[in-house]
Symmetry: C2
Subunit: 198 residues, 2 copies
Amino acid sequence: MFSQPRKVAFELPSWIGAFARKYTATGDIRRRMGFVIAAARKNVEEQTGGPFAAAIFEAGTGALVSLGVNLVLAQGLSFLHAEMVAIAVAQRKLGVYDLGGPGLAAYELLASTEPCTMCLGAIVWSGVRRVVTAACDQDARDIGFDEGPKPADWVETLQSRGIDVLSGIERDAARGVLLYYLSHGGLIYNSRRGNAQE
Amino acid sequence: MFSQPRKVAFELPSWIGAFARKYTATGDIRRRMGFVIAAARKNVEEQTGGPFAAAIFEAGTGALVSLGVNLVLAQGLSFLHAEMVAIAVAQRKLGVYDLGGPGLAAYELLASTEPCTMCLGAIVWSGVRRVVTAACDQDARDIGFDEGPKPADWVETLQSRGIDVLSGIERDAARGVLLYYLSHGGLIYNSRRGNAQE
């Protein structure tokens, strides 16, 4: 007889709470990004996922709302990119499905690498008002990751929807984490570009 | 002191198991799609979410693997489109993050409406080998939903990645569910195209 799980849950690594509590709110976007990149490195060091992190901040104060890391392999779900995790945790924490809804602060997403197609769409639906990225698409491709069928003008399309985009903040540091993952034998999953795994 | 949920879970509606057990495996793609569209209608009737459903089948036998419905409002998470739910449930049920991995059957995703940008990306990462859709992007837009910044050539990009696409199967029936939702006062969330909610 047919059956399927009625509930799906995913869990963040045990180190995430203590790590996030080390962050102090700052108006300096480079320091915010430095914290996110450090989380991506920690995720590799702890072997809890891929070399990617993302976080939601209050854009005005720099207060941290949520910190997410890539959990695809750790949790066995292909959608668990860092951006998806950070957005879901923020929405549950604040009790809203729309972070851009009435009466809320303006929220921003910082991501250690530019978003893939899936995360690009998820950003639009999330309600965040600004996206800030470090490593670029090409840096991810250089180590074998694939960003998916993303429109070439994705930055402009976000801007036309009222979502600001700031790219390349602390790019070298974020690229360093990608190379660190590669040099430590990290698995480049989802690298078959839609073809059967070789 | 900073804190955030360490675990995020979402739950499918209580009717989903009994509903899915009514399906009998069939080689007829129209009958498979009819089942998916009926689930979308049931989701509206039961007031458990938006007018969208998706399911994963074994492409060869037509056996059902997972059935998902839109849960954005019900579960308070903007990423819970029907396709995301069906993929996550299938991956957990089968214990793999890659439905296209070695030794597995070929799986296909049926969706009652063409995928948005987010779901397009998620489809690529999921490992499904075929996508079959009913209502088209324009049908969703006609009632006020928004598909996001999706490349115009998204069908070709899926095909170039080895994922077949079959569109417009039982389109009228699926469009009927969208109109049913609209006429019953269903909330068209995420319709602000990135601007502050009016």
